[in-house]
Every structure is written in structure tokens, then in C-alpha cells.
């Protein structure tokens, strides 16, 4: 039943939008050529513009306004919501988590992706394909499904019982000690890193695919020239290959970075933000639904948005710079 309705919505949606464009095109086609040429561009970008305005710009403005309202009594609160957030220890801890996420995940993802891309390049075409397919596989898994899988890996069963969690099974098998409730260890934000592993595991394939293409795009001759110039493998990698694929590295880094700033699913599905693993995305849900405070929830979202904007601006600029170089 669900499959049928999904199919209907996909096919129906496509058909309807196709018919809308066809109809608009037909109407414009009826006018004379002068008007035709003037109207046609608007006819095609118009619907998208309307959708963007209605579902992106308007809600954004609403959210910003709402973030200045104390929704418990529907009065204008100025920066009240923000002040209350930034003076709360819990929220600062949430911010710290987000900071850790963006410090660790993009860098590690790019490093692993680059490492795999470079090493796979030396395997020969057949083995490289197999190897890369395996690394890429997690990309096909949804975040929530991945979170569920990894929750099983980290599962804790009391001592003496059979360990259903893979990690604890290995742990108790090797150390013969007691099983460890991994996900609850917040000392040094250890559990944060356990969650990060999931996202890195999911994103490494994406990083690898893009970086692999970039590595293959480095002219073989420059590498040979470097070999003749006396460079060792490590020097060739860091001084000749990496600088030439810098654009791709930055692009992958920033894309992962933006994804990680908005991280929600993994944390929500694995811990729900408990054990000091809370992040902005989860905090929003908590404020909105659990604490019934849409004003504060909006403030959380605005903070996140303000933080993401400079990164996106940088990414767009970097992209344009790359285009110019091409």
C-alpha cells in the first residue's frame, strides 16, 4: 500500500508539474513573439520561484521573527530567547558538541576518503572497483537505518548475559572483563566520537568518489616530473598531488561540514541527545515538541543558520574561483 502511494506521488507529481509547464508554455506560445520572448523565462523559473518563496524564504522570515517572541505568553521578548539559551549550561554543552562534530568529522572524512582514493588507485582497475564499491556502499543507507545498525553494534547487555552488541562481544571476548555501556560514556565526550564514527562511515564513500576522480585527474606527467626532480612518494603526494586537487578537497570538506553542522538524525536515533551528546538539530526538536517552546526552538534554528551562512558563502566563492581556473 505504501509502495503504491509512493509510486503514485512520484509519477503523479512529475506528471502534474510536466503538465503545468506544458500548459504555461502553450499559453505563452499564443502571444506574439515579442511578448513570447519576454515572458518565457519567467514562465519557467516562476513556479520554482514561488515554491522557494513559499516554502523557504517565508518560513525563514517567520522563524526569525518567532525567535524574538516568548511563545509561552506570546509577547515580544527581544533577545530573551537567545540570552536564555546562551546562559544555559546545557545549551553551551550542546554548542560544544556541535563544535566537536565540525572539528572532527569533515577532516577525518576527507583524510580517509583521500587515503582510500590514493591507495585504491594503485590496486589496478579490477580490484579498485571492488574495493571502492565496498567503501561506497554505506552511502546507500539512510542515516536513521545506519544509526539503528550502529546502535546494535554499541549495545550493552548486563554482565553475565550473552552480548548482542558487536563491540561488547569483542571487548568481553578479548579482555574477559565486564561489558561497557559505550554510548553512555561522556567523559571527554567519548560517546560523541562513537556517534561521529557512524557519520564518517557514511560519508567516507562520498569523499572517496569525488577525491578519487580528482586524483585520477592529476596529470601523470607532473608526477613523473616530480619523481625525476627527486621527490619521494610522500613528497609527491603532499607537494604535487594534494595541491592540484585542493579545490576538490575544499569542496568535499565544506559539503561534509555543512551536513555535519545540521547533524540530527544520527544523534536523534541513537541517543536522542542524552548522555551529553545533544546537538543543535536535536535541541530544536526538544524545545519545540518536548518543552513546547517554539520561540526558543526558533532561536536555536536561527543560531544554526547564522553559523552555516558564512560556510556556504565560502563554498560558493570557492566554487566560482575553481570555475575561473578551469
Amino acid at each position: 500500500m505504501q509502495i503504491v502511494s509512493a509510486l503514485v506521488s512520484v509519477v503523479g507529481g512529475l506528471t502534474v508539474s510536466f503538465l503545468i509547464y506544458l500548459g504555461l508554455n502553450f499559453i505563452v506560445g499564443k502571444t506574439n513573439t515579442k511578448w513570447n520572448r519576454r515572458l518565457l523565462p519567467y514562465v519557467f523559473i516562476g513556479p520554482i520561484l514561488v515554491l522557494l518563496l513559499g516554502f523557504l524564504v517565508y518560513p525563514t522570515i517567520r522563524t526569525v521573527i518567532l525567535s524574538f517572541v516568548d511563545t509561552t505568553n506570546d509577547k515580544f521578548a527581544g533577545f530573551g530567547n537567545y540570552v536564555s539559551l546562551f546562559t544555559s549550561g546545557d545549551f553551551l554543552s550542546t554548542l560544544l558538541n556541535n563544535l566537536l562534530w565540525i572539528l572532527v568529522v569533515p577532516a577525518v572524512t576527507v583524510a580517509i576518503g583521500l587515503g582510500v582514493a590514493t591507495l585504491a588507485d594503485r590496486l589496478g582497475p579490477k580490484r579498485e572497483k571492488t574495493f571502492k564499491s565496498i567503501i561506497f556502499l554505506p552511502m546507500a543507507i539512510s542515516f536513521v537505518a545506519a544509526a539503528t545498525m550502529w546502535r546494535f553494534i554499541y549495545t550493552y547487555d548486563p554482565p553475565g548475559q550473552p552480548q548482542t552488541g558487536l563491540l561488547n562481544a569483542i571487548w568481553t571476548g578479548i579482555t574477559h572483563g565486564d561489558p561497557v555501556p559505550w554510548i553512555t560514556i561522556d567523559a571527554g565526550r567519548f560517546n560523541d566520537f562513537l556517534l561521529m564514527i557512524v557519520v564518517i562511515w557514511l560519508n567516507a564513500g562520498y569523499a572517496m568518489v569525488l577525491l578519487s576522480a580528482a586524483v585520477k585527474g592529476v596529470p601523470e606527467e607532473t608526477i613523473e616530473a616530480a619523481r625525476i626532480d627527486g621527490a619521494k612518494d610522500r613528497q609527491i603526494f603532499f607537494r604535487v598531488i594534494v595541491p592540484q586537487i585542493q579545490g576538490t578537497i575544499v569542496a568535499v570538506f565544506v559539503t561534509v561540514l555543512i551536513g555535519v553542522m545540521k547533524i540530527f538524525d544520527i544523534v536523534f536515533a541513537m541517543t536522542g541527545g542524552t548522555y551529553n551528546t545533544n546537538v543543535l538539530g536535536v535541541e530544536f526538536i526538544n524545545q519545540f515538541f518536548n518543552f513546547g517552546n517554539p520561540g526558543k526552538a526558533s532561536a536555536v534554528v536561527v543560531i544554526l543558520m547564522v553559523a552555516v551562512i558564512p560556510v556556504i558563502v565560502y563554498q560558493v566563492r570557492n566554487y566560482r574561483k575553481q570555475e575561473v581556473l578551469r
Partner: protein, 364 residues
């Protein structure tokens, strides 16, 4: 400075039955400019890359000076290479490109700057030292690639068709520049090209390759005057040498109705009744009547000072295309019939079967 020796060096690509380079024996003297020339796919680039250490040597040895470098990695061979596409590092400035090898070698900053500047002066690159390769013209990039090699002060320069990406005019200019620069620096140079004009104008000696086999090594004059076989005869010289099969009679080689006498020793070297005759376009006398091979003129190519006459003749029932150098101002015209005879001392004879040269001296 050092000599270079190929000792039966062979390269067999995995999965291939015929070696790309087949047991090459070649010696390049200290300070010599040797040109490897041949059609594409003849193994000349592979030979150079074997010397560079970028290509494995499956059999035989390669020596630089007295040192066996067959299994030495490129970085320890003390060579510098200029690539066809220049292979400049796109993220580095001209100065950084030229100084990269020195930086890797741990040469200090001041000396690096001095040596880069020296090379830049030599190549007129001073104004561009701060630029990236993208902001340079093709000719400038080519000079940076040269500069990168010069800065190293290596024992051997390797150049892999460094002029093939330049336009015709610049190629001719750069050709002389490279040759004179090499003589000034006195560094042993192995230069690969498919262009026989480049080979003739630049090399102290030329090595001609075909299908991975060395055909002949010698000075440009040697190769031009005394090609070892039909392939070298046809490859060296532009327009190419006329090659056709002719009948052998008691009177000598038949040039139409005109017999060209050949000496007894040469005659003894020929098996059979036919021989491949080679004659360069400029070694032909053209007459409008009389003796000789009748040639129908198809096209006259005007070159100013002189011209090329392209025509065809009928030899033993087969059409043979011929090219003859004629005077630029007075020459026959298309459609005319002319009679050609070889100038004395400039006829080359080759065995029909093997293609090998017959006779030591150029035959009368």
C-alpha cells in the same frame, strides 16, 4: 657531465609479445646532443623513459657515465627531463617550478634563488618568475620546462618532443635556441622527436628507430648521404627520397632507357634481377627531351627560391610517384613530360628483399 650507454636495453610491455624497445645498443658521448627519431610507436619515447627510470628495463643495462643505473630510481639518476606537455606544476609559480628539485634536494633558499635567477636570465624568463603556468604562453611554458631542467645542473638532459606543442614559427626559433643552449652548457642530451627536420638541424648524431629496433646511428650528414636501409632513406630528408624498383641489366641499373653503370663490387652484392633505387629530389637532372626516365608532371609546388616537381612515371607497368627539385624561376609545368637522370654519385641502391643498402660508396 657523463656519457650514456644503452647495452642491449629491452623493454617488453606486460601482455605484449613484441618488445617496444628491442635490445638497443647505443652510446652517447659526454656532452653530445643525440636525437632519437622515428615514426610514432617506434619506441623512441620508451627508450628515453627507460633512461629516465620511468620505464622498467626488462633486459640489458643502461649506464650513465660508468654507473649502472638500470635499477636506480629516477631521483637518484641525476638527470633532468623536459616533457612534451611540459608537466609544469600548475599550483607553483615559475620560480617555484624551477626551484622545486633544488628544494627537494635541500639546497638553501639563497642559493636556490640565485640559481633560478641565473637560469631565468638565460631563458628570458625574469619578468615571469612570479607567475603561475596558467598565465604563460605556450612558448614561455616551454622555456620554464627548459629552465626547470637547467637549474638542476644534471649530468644528462632528456627531452621528449619538447617542441611539438609550439606553433611552426616558434618551433623553428626554439629549435636553434635549444641547440645553442645545449652547446653552451655542454650537457649530454638525449632528444626525442618524430620530426626528421628537427633531428637533422639539432643533433650531433641521430639515432633512427623503427618498431623498437635501432636502424642507424650517425651524424646528420651520414644519415643523409649514406642511409643504411630503405627505411632510413625514406625517413630522413624532406621531401623524401624517391624509392622505386628498377631492372638490373648488364649495362647497369635502368633509368627508363638510360642505363646507369654500377661497379663490379656493388653488382656482386645484389641478388636477383631487380634492385631498389633511391634518389633524392635534388640529385636529379631534368631534361625536356632525350634520355632518362619519362615523368609526367602532376603538380609544381612553388617554394620561392626553388620548387618541387611532383609527377609520376610508369616503371614495369606500375605507377611510381616521384618528386624532383627544380629551379624556382624556370621549370616545367603541370602536364609536361620530362626525362630525368640521376646526378653523378648520388644514386642509392638497396636490396629488394631485405631493404639493406648495397654498395659502400654512393654509386655513379
Amino acid at each position: 657531465m657523463a656519457s650514456v650507454t644503452f647495452d642491449k636495453a629491452t623493454r617488453l610491455y606486460p601482455g605484449s609479445t613484441r618488445p617496444a624497445v628491442d635490445a638497443i645498443d647505443l652510446e652517447v658521448a659526454d656532452g653530445e646532443f643525440l636525437v632519437l627519431v622515428g615514426p610514432s610507436g617506434c619506441g623512441k619515447s620508451t627508450t628515453l623513459r627507460m633512461l629516465a627510470g620511468l620505464e622498467e628495463v626488462n633486459d640489458g643495462r643502461i649506464l650513465i657515465g660508468d654507473r649502472d643505473v638500470t635499477d636506480v630510481p629516477p631521483k637518484d639518476r641525476d638527470i633532468a627531463m623536459v616533457f612534451q606537455n611540459y608537466a609544469l606544476y600548475p599550483h607553483m609559480t615559475v620560480a617555484e617550478n624551477m626551484g622545486f628539485a633544488l628544494k627537494i634536494a635541500g639546497v638553501n633558499k639563497d642559493e636556490r634563488a640565485t640559481r633560478v635567477l641565473e637560469a631565468a636570465k638565460l631563458l628570458d624568463l625574469e619578468p615571469y618568475l612570479g607567475r603561475k603556468p596558467k598565465a604563460l604562453s605556450g612558448g614561455q611554458r616551454q622555456r620554464v620546462a627548459m629552465g626547470r631542467a637547467i637549474v638542476r645542473q644534471p649530468q644528462v638532459f632528456l627531452m621528449d618532443e619538447p617542441l611539438s606543442n609550439l606553433d611552426a614559427k616558434l618551433r623553428v626559433q626554439t629549435r636553434t635556441q635549444i641547440a645553442s643552449l645545449q652547446r653552451r652548457l655542454g650537457v649530454t642530451t638525449v632528444y626525442v622527436t618524430h620530426d626528421q627536420t628537427e633531428a637533422l638541424t639539432m643533433g650531433d648524431r641521430i639515432a633512427v628507430l623503427k618498431d623498437g629496433v635501432l636502424q642507424q646511428v650517425g651524424t646528420p650528414r651520414d644519415l643523409y648521404e649514406r642511409p643504411n636501409n630503405v627505411f632510413v632513406a625514406g625517413f630522413i630528408g624532406s621531401p623524401a627520397m624517391n624509392l622505386f624498383q628498377a631492372d638490373l641489366t648488364d649495362a647497369g641499373v635502368m633509368f627508363g632507357n638510360h642505363p646507369v653503370a654500377i661497379d663490379r663490387a656493388t653488382l656482386a652484392g645484389i641478388s636477383g634481377k631487380k634492385v631498389t633505387v633511391g634518389i633524392r629530389p635534388e640529385d636529379v637532372t631534368v631534361a625536356t627531351s632525350g634520355d632518362g626516365l619519362p615523368v609526367e608532371v602532376d603538380v609544381i609546388e612553388e617554394l620561392g627560391a626553388d620548387g618541387n616537381l611532383y609527377g609520376h612515371s610508369d616503371i614495369a607497368g606500375a605507377r611510381v610517384d616521384l618528386c624532383v627539385r627544380v629551379d624556382g624561376r624556370s621549370h616545367p609545368n603541370a602536364g609536361d613530360k620530362v626525362y630525368i637522370t640521376p646526378k653523378e654519385g648520388h644514386l642509392h641502391l638497396f636490396d629488394v628483399e631485405s631493404g639493406a643498402r648495397v654498395g659502400e660508396a654512393v654509386i655513379a
